[in-house]
């Protein structure tokens, strides 16, 4: 029997669809001046004379100590400028080297969610969104921007989402995981409504400032080793708030991605939620389905920093509990705890499982 390459075969006709999707890439401005061309004279002079409210972020001073001082891969610094500010280096070290077919951008240092001056915040959000397109997406169409919004001013956030909703260069909406109120509260519902209207997922990432809340529920940790753990508990609180406030009942189409918080805790959380719901659902009659059903329908979890269970079998069992369709590969380039797609998964995956985690799931969760 002779095998010939058939041009209609899926592998040959859609190679781009099979290439890896990376759900956590961090672009950084070389300097805050990179944003100036996208700000009006009015806000340029505000920035010059008064400065931004935010005094932290990946491109500046950190709110908490980080590994290697800045939380960056030591080999990811370009000759000038901060890590993550050089597209060419990102391409050489990661996008090209690992055959990344699509990557979703998370512009951390430019988060505007905590900006107290709401009008400046709205102008800055627009500027960051335009900068992502000009500096990253236009030069490398594999990259997809995330809409930055002024979360504490939902009307302005909705206006920003609506402005970009039809633009295919944006694949998702970025939200702070620690805004002033828990994320299930109704003040944020207009943002979820706009996300559903646009067909875009809302994406949470740790570090994005907001609300002034400490990273741990009992106060600020002392050491980075503690702070680095706090993303998982943070996401449990978000999931709890969104499920029991009825967000997923109100917005059944809403897609939520939890980036960089791990996923091995998800089974524990959903078992507890379900048990509580079975016993105390009369308190929350608006939550009509089992919490696990909403989570299985509406939420996804990214892999980095990869859970390293004691054995590959343990990891497989946990992912089976969550669902192989809920897990998305992410690298976190250029941060110190970057995961290389070739080596991060210490688990033998079937072709189908690999396709789901490294490509297919993300293509359903995001607009890619």
């Amino acid at each position: 029997m002779t095998l010939t390459l058939d041009s209609a075969a899926p592998a040959a006709s859609t190679p781009a669809k099979l290439a890896t999707v990376d759900c956590d890439l961090h672009p950084t401005p070389r300097s805050p001046n990179d944003l100036l061309p996208f700000l009006s004279q009015r806000w340029q002079s505000h920035l010059r004379d008064y400065g931004s409210h935010i005094r932290q972020g990946i491109s500046g001073q950190e709110i908490h100590p980080r590994m290697d001082g800045r939380g960056m891969r030591l080999d990811a610094f370009p000759e000038t400028g901060p890590a993550g500010s050089d597209l060419g280096l990102m391409q050489r070290q990661h996008l090209d080297a690992n055959d990344i077919g699509a990557g979703t951008l998370i512009a951390l240092g430019t988060s505007v969610s905590d900006e107290r001056n709401l009008d400046y915040g709205a102008a800055l959000a627009r500027a960051v969104n335009q900068w992502q397109l000009a500096a990253w997406v236009e030069p490398d169409p594999r990259l997809h921007a995330g809409i930055i919004v002024t979360q504490e001013d939902p009307a302005a956030a909705v206006a920003e989402i609506d402005y970009w909703a039809a633009d295919p260069r944006f694949s998702h909406i970025m939200l702070s995981p620690k805004p002033i109120e828990p994320l299930g509260r109704r003040r944020y519902w207009p943002i979820y409504e706009a996300a559903c209207r646009a067909g875009l997922p809302v994406v949470f990432h740790p570090v994005i400032p907001g609300g002034g809340h400490p990273s741990s529920g009992i106060g600020w940790p002392t050491f980075y080793i503690q702070d680095h753990y706090t993303s998982g508990p943070l996401y449990q609180n978000i999931a709890m708030s969104m499920v029991f406030e009825g967000v997923f009942e109100k917005f059944p189409e809403l897609k939520v991605v939890f980036v960089e918080g791990g996923f091995t805790w998800v089974p524990h959380m959903t078992w507890r939620f379900d048990r509580q719901w079975e016993r105390m659902r009369s308190e929350v009659p608006h939550v009509k389905k089992k919490p696990s059903e909403y989570l299985r329908q509406n939420t996804w979890f990214t892999t980095q920093p990869m859970e390293e269970c004691r054995t590959p079998g343990q990891l497989r069992e946990i992912i089976e509990w969550i669902g192989f369709d809920r897990v998305l590969y992410s690298s976190d380039y250029p941060h110190w705890d970057y995961d290389d797609p070739k080596y991060a998964f210490k688990l033998r995956l079937s072709d189908e499982e690999r396709q789901m985690i490294f490509s297919g799931n993300a293509r359903r969760a995001y607009r890619l």
Partner: protein
């Protein structure tokens, strides 16, 4: 099959520097700490980062909270990504010494005269009889 390769004239390898060399098809990072030489495979066994980009330092040990001592200065190489620490003498991981190590190689300083006798690969370094050279066995 091991190979012995002359990687540098000793004067071209100053104290407290490192070099990345290709020996026997492998990328090897060679450290000079004062007058001692060490060589490791230039690849972290965890996720493959280039170890040559890592920082060389010591271990901070503590007998109790609030008490800290810096020990074994310049003996531990920290991976530039996840911070795994390797003893540059043995290649052994500090976090997981039982299961994780990165291959180490012998490094020697030899006179040009001694190099004439053995099967050494010196290209493209020109070896003269009286000088000292750094040799990696890999």
């Amino acid at each position: 099959m091991t190979a012995s390769q002359v990687i540098s004239h000793i004067d071209d390898f100053p104290p407290n520097t490192r070099k990345v060399v290709e020996v026997n098809g492998r990328s090897v990072v060679v450290f000079r700490v004062e007058d001692e030489f060490y060589a490791l495979l230039n690849r972290c066994p965890h996720e493959g980062a280039e170890l040559c980009k890592g920082r060389l330092g010591g271990l901070v040990v503590s007998s109790e909270p609030g008490e800290y001592d810096m020990t074994q200065e310049n003996q531990f190489l920290r991976c530039p990504w996840h911070g795994w620490e390797f003893d540059i003498k043995t290649g052994q991981s500090y976090c997981d010494p039982r299961k994780t190590r990165t291959p180490r190689y012998d490094v020697a300083v030899k006179s040009g005269g001694a190099l004439q006798e053995g099967p050494y690969k010196a290209e493209p370094i020109k070896v003269s009889l009286d000088d000292l050279y750094v040799v990696v066995h890999c």
